[in-house]
């Protein structure tokens, strides 16, 4: 394991993880909202916001899939040391991290079962640009409408059609975070 794997985690885990959890809760309860999510210093190509989400949400019981360029030894070692999460294939993953193109086709990921809709994957999508513009969002947690720069619309419309099943999504860009739960209705720009 590389020495870098052992740095960049929380210095004050109780406070930082509580703040991180609050940020994730905020973006998933108010789809389209973009918040600052600092606190983690993971190795590239993992962004600080994705690193924070990993530190807060992952543990030994949450199988994680790394897609594309994120599936590298620096990220694997860092996640293993910092979270203990087992690394698995897309179909078994509870969380997945990658660029949208690497994660696609997203129909590979778990959408839950009618008895246990919570057994669905959460995708952590790394983006170059995250802004409150583009696709139109409606639904729970949105007063009227909101906008978010989604990498694609069709996949999220298809996912919404599965409700109450379907995956949930976090978008990261540097240390900024946004969310798109499966309940959000996505319309074209």
């Amino acid at each position: 394991m590389t020495p870098d794997a052992m740095t960049g985690g929380f210095a004050d885990a109780p406070i930082q993880s509580a703040k991180g959890f609050r940020a994730i809760l905020e973006v998933l309860s108010r789809p389209g909202t973009i918040v600052a999510a600092p606190g983690a210093q993971p190795p590239a190509p993992l962004s600080p916001a994705a690193g924070l989400a990993a530190l807060v949400l992952f543990d030994g019981t949450t199988p994680v899939h790394l897609a594309g360029r994120h599936d590298c030894s620096a990220v694997r070692d860092w996640l293993t040391f910092q979270t203990g999460a087992p690394l698995v294939g897309a179909g078994e993953a509870m969380f997945a991290i990658g660029d949208w193109s690497a994660l696609s086709p997203v129909t590979r990921f778990a959408i839950g079962t009618p008895e246990y809709p919570d057994r669905a994957a959460t995708l952590i999508v790394e983006t170059d640009r995250l802004a409150a513009e583009g696709a139109l969002l409606r639904g729970p947690g949105i007063a009227r409408t909101a906008r978010l720069s989604l990498p694609e619309i069709a996949a999220f419309r298809a996912n919404r059609a599965l409700f109450p099943l379907g995956f949930d999504t976090l978008f990261t860009c540097g240390d900024r975070l946004a969310g798109l739960p499966r309940s959000t209705i996505v319309e074209g720009a």
Binding site: P3, M6, T7, G9, A13, F81, Q82
Partner: protein, 146 residues
Amino acid sequence: MSNLSSFSRAQSLGLLARAPAERLAALFPEAAAHTVLRGPETGAVMVRGRQGGTGAPFNLGEMTVTRCSVRLACGTDGHAYVQGRDKAHARRAAVLDALLQTAEAARLTAGVLAPLAAEETARRATRAAKAAATKVEFFTLVRGED
């Protein structure tokens, strides 16, 4: 662990984990300069057993474990996983683990590991001897033919 002069890293980490915390503190009171990479944090480890003793695994229950990872000024990392909730114990064990990979190894092996190992061996031998004294000696009672 009959050889008290050399220990593999796994052996020394096991010994440090099993050692009574007060005893370890008495043998190794010093604190080498280090930065903490993680912890010390207390958590639970799920202990597994095997069905029928030898078959497929099952979850027996958890135990408390405290872990700590440290880095010495020279860049050497040390790790420890210690049964129980004693954070000072875990940190001390992690620092020792790091120092045992440096030029300090011989001194600490003789001064800390060897006495811990000898005391553990004695503790176990005492308990085993008391158990052995409760072994049943059967006497076969021969019944006469006529």
